[in-house]
Amino acid sequence: MNVNYIFSLLSVIVLFLLAYVGVEAAGFQILFGVIIPYLAIITFIAGFIYRVLNWARSPVPFRIPSTCGQQKSLSWIKPARIDNPSTKMGVVIRMILEVLFFRSLFRNTKCQLKEGDKLSYEWEKWLWLGAIAFHWSFLTVVIRHFRFFIDPVPSCLQLLEKVDGFLQVGLPGVLFSGIVLLAAVIFLFLRRVFIPQVRYVSLASDFFPLFLIIGVAISGILMRHFTKVDVIGVKELTMGLVTFRPKIPSDVGSAFYVHLFFVSVLMAYFPFSKLLHLGGIFMSPTRNLANNSRRIRHINPWNYPVEVHTYEQYEDEFREKMVEVGLPVEKEIAPTISEEKE
């Protein structure tokens, strides 16, 4: 048992009860269906902008060349154009590969003592695999949900849903991305619980979003395949939200409000948590700067004018004394020497 994840699990259960009891017993449909979702989206957008601007105010005076390849130098040494980019183009390509395929995570290694005291490094790809499965399925799920927010629904969304439902199991059909999402997020959670080193560095702020996303996924799957809700009513509500004519349809099940509340909490929590790596990745200096420190002079933007005492000034100040004790000087005391000697 670990306080961090018990605490996170309990918070998510409390959230569930809040929404469930709030709708079932107290009839707070307007609160959970209209007010909280609006507040959540406003918090999400405003919080995101606030945090990103805050990052943008921090000067990054130096290029941080934590790179995985040969820097561009002499013409006969082959540079790694993407892994150690010296141009904007290279940076853009590195960023795209990072965002879409988690390239640096792909190189993740595990450091272990084996056979007693032998230190070994091993390529650790499971985290990458879990992460890529999680993020891509999450994206698919998010895009798929746009069918509830736009009208008429464009055919590309219908195509996506068709591809996602390629298993054609049951009615309504099981959607692949939903299963992958739930499996991946559970894997990412178990990893934090079972690997001692990872558990040691895991905080409540790591577990809470995982539980919240597990809650979102489970409530969604339950709603689609088991408890069932009136989907037409759901779309009536969501379209009301995006057209600023909020409306609570009569008999949408409370499972839907739980789902919506989980998503609202996730959105509101997003900008103030580690989840903001969505924006942070674009702001990270080790990813968004070209390594051109040797070619271009980067001036520290917070430099105040530093008063320097150059060697010339030093010699001017102490020339006589230096000459007196026989130290070599760059500029002899040509005209004044004779005067002084006299």
């Binding site: 601007l53 849903e161 049951g170 009615l171 069932k228």
Partner: protein, 135 residues
């Protein structure tokens, strides 16, 4: 320390944030504040005469696909064709011959809802969508 108000790489940062806002507010501007009316599936005279669907309306509304799935599996796998509903009434388990017998206005009934919720059923690849065509 430096001037904390200055935003470095202002152009890039602002461009990125503008893209972010455009994407996240997509549903709010894409619909121009308009939504098509909520579908009100039309009942045919035959359905009206029957007064009741296979199961109560609220059940049908949310769970008709699950019912159809049960029907499909029961017919195709077990060869049984008679469904007895919660009130003890029997129905022939058939998509085209039962559902579309009462709801023969598929376009105004099934499709109206399905278009609204962007549901694409592949059933009609094989099943005849209008029983009148059966000779």
């Amino acid at each position: 320390m430096g001037n904390k108000k200055q935003i470095y790489d202002r152009g890039m940062v602002v461009a990125g944030l503008v893209i972010f806002v455009i994407i996240t507010t997509f549903p709010f501007w894409y619909n121009h504040g308009k939504a098509s009316p909520v579908p009100e599936p039309e009942l045919t005279d035959r359905a009206k005469a029957a007064r009741e669907c296979v199961e109560p309306k609220s059940v049908m509304r949310a769970k008709h696909m699950q019912l159809l799935n049960v029907w499909r599996n029961t017919v195709v796998r077990n060869g049984k064709r008679v469904y007895v509903n919660s009130k003890g009434k029997s129905f022939d388990m058939s998509l085209s011959n039962t559902c579309l017998d009462c709801h023969f206005n598929k376009a105004e009934f099934c499709d109206q809802c399905h278009n609204y919720a962007s549901v694409k059923t592949y059933c009609w690849d094989c099943h005849i969508d209008n029983p009148k065509e059966i000779k």
